[in-house]
Symmetry: C2
Subunit: 397 residues, 2 copies
């Protein structure tokens, strides 16, 4: 009798090798896409915590699917309700305190900062202090406190990786290169829905028109910022701090197809560009897997099918917000914080229909004139500037 060999196949998921991920802002556009990426790379990542503002209805299925240890919601009352419903199986915290306590106390490898606005700053700093990898989609963190955040990252050996498609493109182009040999960073901008409108039309734009972005499906705040090109202004400021580069080395080029996500020009004249479809899953995945790239089934870019890529200089007279952002970066200190807070208030007013589109740059300029300037603000001063600007801008229309 011939003995059959006994073959045992082990299929083991090495949980202990899975990277633990904390997703702040999990129901927003970036948060959702982050969970898509994690879902598509099974066995690679474990979600430790999810945090949302108010969309608890969207949080519930995420909790079921990803089974985090902790969740944070904005207000204590819905937190209390959720706590009861989850029956102690998952810890539920609330507010900025909750966010900070997750960032400072939870076990994780990668912090995904995908919340909107300057509320992202405090928990990000907690993650920096623990020397974590921070995948930063919340551009306000660097816009309002770039210098400080950089100092802290250096001190605590934290790794800040960009999630924005533009900054991810630059980061990818810099792989294997020397940042000191960079001559220029070229941020591409779609030009938004008003690229081909005259300044007059554009200044009287409706909310619906401004939300009609040609390429990207994003949250409302950032879509309005794209229409005014303040988004690109904030990205210029973010790029300065992410890559530690002088502002006069950061250019903006209009590229309506959003296929080239950004470029780096080196001092030998060579330009490297990163291309892809307008899909946030790629830059999110890169921030999660860097320096490796993991295989996925995302749609691929077919350049012959796309046919042409075009480029223009931005019109700074028409896109006043971009000009104001460059000026605030030149002023430095607390100016970018004031710029950002005033813009948040103005965009909110526009979305609520209480101001015209043309009043966005007006409110920002007025705030920059009014709010006291600090050359080297610490965190307390930054929070104070942010608060004072919001109060002041709230009164403008």
């Amino acid at each position: 009798m011939i003995k059959k060999p006994l073959i045992i196949t082990f299929v083991v998921t090495f949980n202990y090798n899975m990277k633990k991920v904390l997703v702040l802002g999990s129901t927003g556009s970036i948060g959702n896409n982050t969970l898509n990426v994690i879902r598509n790379l099974p066995g690679q990542f474990k979600v430790t915590a999810l945090t949302v503002n108010t969309r608890i209805d969207l949080l519930k299925p995420q909790i079921e699917e990803f089974n985090p240890e902790i969740v944070v919601v904005k207000e204590e009352k819905p937190a209390e309700e959720l706590r009861k419903r989850l029956n102690g199986k998952i810890e539920v915290l609330s507010g900025i305190k909750g966010l900070c306590s997750v960032a400072s106390g939870c076990e994780y490898d990668i912090f995904i900062g995908a919340m909107v606005g300057s509320a992202g700053l405090a928990p990000t700093i907690e993650a920096i202090k623990r020397g974590k990898r921070i995948a930063l989609a919340n551009k306000e963190t660097l816009v309002v406190a770039g210098e400080l955040v950089n100092e802290l990252s250096k001190k605590y050996n934290a790794e800040i990786l960009p999630v924005d498609s533009e900054h991810s493109a630059i980061f990818q182009c810099l792989a294997g290169e020397n940042i000191n040999q960079v001559e220029k960073i070229i941020l591409t901008a779609s030009g938004g829905p008003f690229l081909h409108n005259s300044k007059n039309d554009f200044l009287n734009a409706t909310v619906e028109e401004a939300l009609n972005h040609p390429n990207w499906k994003m949250g409302n705040k950032i879509t309005i910022d794209s229409a005014s090109m303040m988004n690109k202004g904030l990205e210029v400021i973010e790029a300065k701090w992410l890559f530690n580069i002088a502002q006069d080395k950061i250019d903006v080029v209009i590229h309506p197809q959003s296929i080239i996500h950004s470029m780096v020009q080196f001092w030998d004249g060579s330009i490297k560009a990163q291309l892809g479809l307008p899909d946030m899953k790629l830059p999110i995945q890169y921030a999660l897997t860097y320096p490796e790239r993991l295989q996925n089934n995302n749609l691929r870019t077919n350049l012959p099918l796309i046919g042409q890529l075009t480029f223009f200089e931005p019109d700074l007279d028409k896109f006043e917000c971009l000009k104001i952002a460059y000026a605030a970066l030149n002023t430095g200190g607390s100016a970018p914080c004031v710029l950002n807070a005033a813009n948040e208030v103005a965009v909110d007013k526009f979305l609520k229909g209480t101001i015209k589109f043309s009043r966005i740059p007006y409110i920002i300029n007025k705030s920059l004139e009014k709010i006291e300037h600090f050359n080297q603000p610490d965190l307390d001063i930054i929070f104070q500037c942010d608060k004072l600007t919001r109060e002041f801008a709230a009164g403008l229309s």
Copy 2:
């Protein structure tokens, strides 16, 4: 009385740090541009040897300017004349033997292989055997003997760096990346002067029309290869060996502006591209200075000024040579050697006006049918295939 401090400024050129460079084919387009690059980076490179075929009138001013230790010319008679004129100050050799003896005996750090045709193979192998850095513009070396050349480079720890703008682009895009995570290499092609002609017009093209390349100023042989797209076929074969990648992972895309020099698509879907004006000085400089980039004053690329970049699939029915090259690469073994030799003969006939443009693919196909195939040719067999193909193709018209 106050004593003035004595300030002495030392400006020293550290000759012992200068890289020694051997330029094979110094009066051709790449050779000339190499000397331009060296001239524009004073103190970085010392030219040890210059070699030319017949253009001794162009060699003379190069000798004066760069003061090499040795020069090589093709024929012994002009070598003897030059030897007398130079009066023993510079050694003068001749022929393939001279080239090989420079490559194997001369003192140098970087070997610039800028000669045209398969004559480049033997001296390149000498340089490989010494474990040198080889800046390879002579694509025939890899086309006819890619597998062998790769084995030898590995054995002798030689470094083969591309000079072709396309392969340099790919090489630049691969910096800091893992070649195993590459999904596709995308070689861009201008499409040459006949991109917009119908197949019929194109097959009856005159020499003058075929030499009228829209973007690049190059030598005659390579300009005709561009018109037939055989140049891109040779580049596909070259890419396979340079980057050790399967041929089905090498795509060709028509990009008439020649601004994106080539691209790499990674398995996460991200594409990296290298861009620049159509100017060989940049890829040559990169091969000389890699992994560093040195600052230069070359013209910069202004994308808003260029306005648009377009992309098409190549028409393999019209550009038959490209299809034949893919097929030869698939066959492997000695087929690319036969392809290359038959093409050299056919292009030469076309340039001399003895055949029509449409006979180029015909002569190549006939040669591939006729010449005996070898699966794993050694160098002797390769030289034999090259010789037999040339003899056979010479009889076709």
